[in-house]
């Protein structure tokens, strides 16, 4: 499989994430932050319990929600305000494929992002077909999205953003619905991907390939740093909690 995103990234690319006192409010309730961060990374893991704010962080990093305070920059681009630049910097895979899919057929869905990058429709469709072929899914082109299973939809979403070859991929629980072979092959693809990846998961075993990890807890960073040590601490905390009798708290 040749899944390199684009020529301009032949050498390993590392991304720069800068948050300055960034916070997110939903319905006047602060669900994330304030966070301050300045990180350079190729593979960044984000781990945390249900409701800890992982998906909210993903939306923030993709520039889809406005910070209530502070700024969020990826490679120097203010992703919320400068959409044109942001589109080249970052692509996001939503946790729930139903929240991502806009078009009725697989080909239209994958081609959409490409026309938005300025390609002509015919060209965009050719490129979309090429992506489908790379993933061995050429026969899906004309399938209505509604006739796919949950995991299959997930894969369509992933192909749509990979097609746009952003420099940073934000993946919100990319493996949650996928079966083992698909997962293996995607991990392999991710290892080949030349851009940077922010991989969000509640399962530490998904994040082994990351060089550093953020652990979110109630919208705050509980711990961050080297993958091995953060994940070990996370696992330990989770096992203690699992043995106890509470089930996840509503964050705040």
């Amino acid at each position: 499989m040749d899944l390199r995103p684009a020529e301009h990234m032949q050498e390993a690319f590392s991304a720069q994430l800068t948050l300055v006192d960034t916070s997110v409010e939903i319905d006047a309730r602060c669900v994330l932050g304030p966070l301050s961060l300045d990180l350079s990374f190729r593979r960044l893991g984000v781990v945390g319990r249900n409701g800890s704010g992982k998906s909210t962080l993903a939306r923030l990093l993709a520039g889809l929600i406005a910070p209530a305070g502070g700024t969020c920059r990826l490679n120097g681009v203010d992703v919320y305000t400068d959409r044109r630049a942001a589109l080249r910097e970052v692509g996001i895979l939503f946790q729930n494929p139903d929240h991502q899919i806009i078009f009725p057929t697989v080909l239209e869905e994958v081609a959409f992002g490409l026309t938005q990058l300025g390609r002509k429709k015919a060209q965009a469709e050719r490129d979309a077909l090429a992506i489908l072929a790379r993933f061995g899914k050429s026969d899906w082109a004309q399938s209505p999205v509604s006739s796919l299973s949950h995991g299959q939809k997930h894969l369509v979403c992933l192909m749509s953003i990979v097609a746009m070859a952003p420099k940073v991929l934000v993946l919100d629980e990319p493996f949650a619905g996928l079966d083992f072979p698909t997962k293996t092959q995607l991990s392999r693809y991710l290892r080949l991907f030349d851009g940077a990846v922010i991989h969000i998961s509640h399962d530490p075993s998904d994040l082994q390939d990351c060089e550093s990890v953020l652990w979110l807890e109630k919208g705050q960073i509980a711990r961050s740093g080297d993958t091995k040590s953060v994940l070990a601490q996370y696992l330990e905390a989770m096992e203690t909690l699992g043995a106890g009798d509470d089930i996840s708290d509503l964050s705040r």
Binding site: D27, R59, L87, D98, I102, Q116, I161
Partner: protein, 204 residues
């Protein structure tokens, strides 16, 4: 559009729904029949007071929900300024804002199921005429559920659009949204069926 639930629990949550709805009804009729500017000014301040009582969070969420009225308010005021009937324009605006604010207040502090209870009492005489009350009740609940869900789906789809495009979605997400809404209705139907559907309530 209408928020269904308040972010905090208020004392008004404990009042019977029928009472709140009755009071709203009376208030609406009174607002509609009086056209004195001072009266409407006073009512408006009183309503504002009701929003302040439960605290800052409630106030900010509640007021934000009234902002959808601004084009309407502007339209009325400009029109009445143009025809030189400012006082009348002010009455219309205040009346509208107070009425909506009161209605929102009832909605924010009344759980859907309590609201349904009232409808149930009011419609039970029709059951003898063959009306499937359970179906009606569930249907009303579903409408109230679907209004914000349509809004949210619209938001999610525009976010997904925004994640891949620099253009504004505008009318372009109307069709996807419609399709999404129809699919959602099918799933709701299935979820209903999974939990007993519309069959007559039976005793355990």
């Amino acid at each position: 559009m209408i928020s269904l639930t308040s972010p905090v629990r208020t004392r008004a949550h404990d009042l019977p729904a029928a009472l709140k709805l009755g009071a709203l009804l009376v208030a609406t009729v009174v607002l509609a029949s009086v056209s004195n500017l001072w009266f409407h000014g006073a009512v408006f301040l009183a309503v504002l007071g009701l929003y302040i009582l439960p605290g800052r969070l409630f106030f900010s969420v509640g007021i934000r929900r009234l902002f959808i009225l601004w084009p309407f308010v502007a339209g009325v005021l400009i029109w009445h300024f143009a025809i030189d009937a400012m006082a009348e324009g002010a009455v219309i605006t205040l009346r509208m804002v107070s009425a909506v604010a009161l209605a929102n207040l009832v909605t924010m502090t009344t759980r859907l199921s309590d609201m349904m209870e009232v409808v149930h009492k009011l419609t039970s005489p029709f059951a003898r005429l063959g009306l499937n009350l359970r179906a009606l009740e569930i249907c009303l609940a579903l409408v109230i559920r679907m209004i914000p869900v349509l809004g949210q789906k619209g938001q999610l789809l525009s976010q997904s659009w925004r994640a891949r495009s620099t253009r504004k979605p505008r009318w372009r997400i109307v069709l996807p949204l419609a399709v999404c809404a129809l699919d959602d209705a099918d799933r709701v139907a299935e979820a209903l069926r999974a939990r007993g559907g519309l069959m007559d309530v039976q005793k355990e």
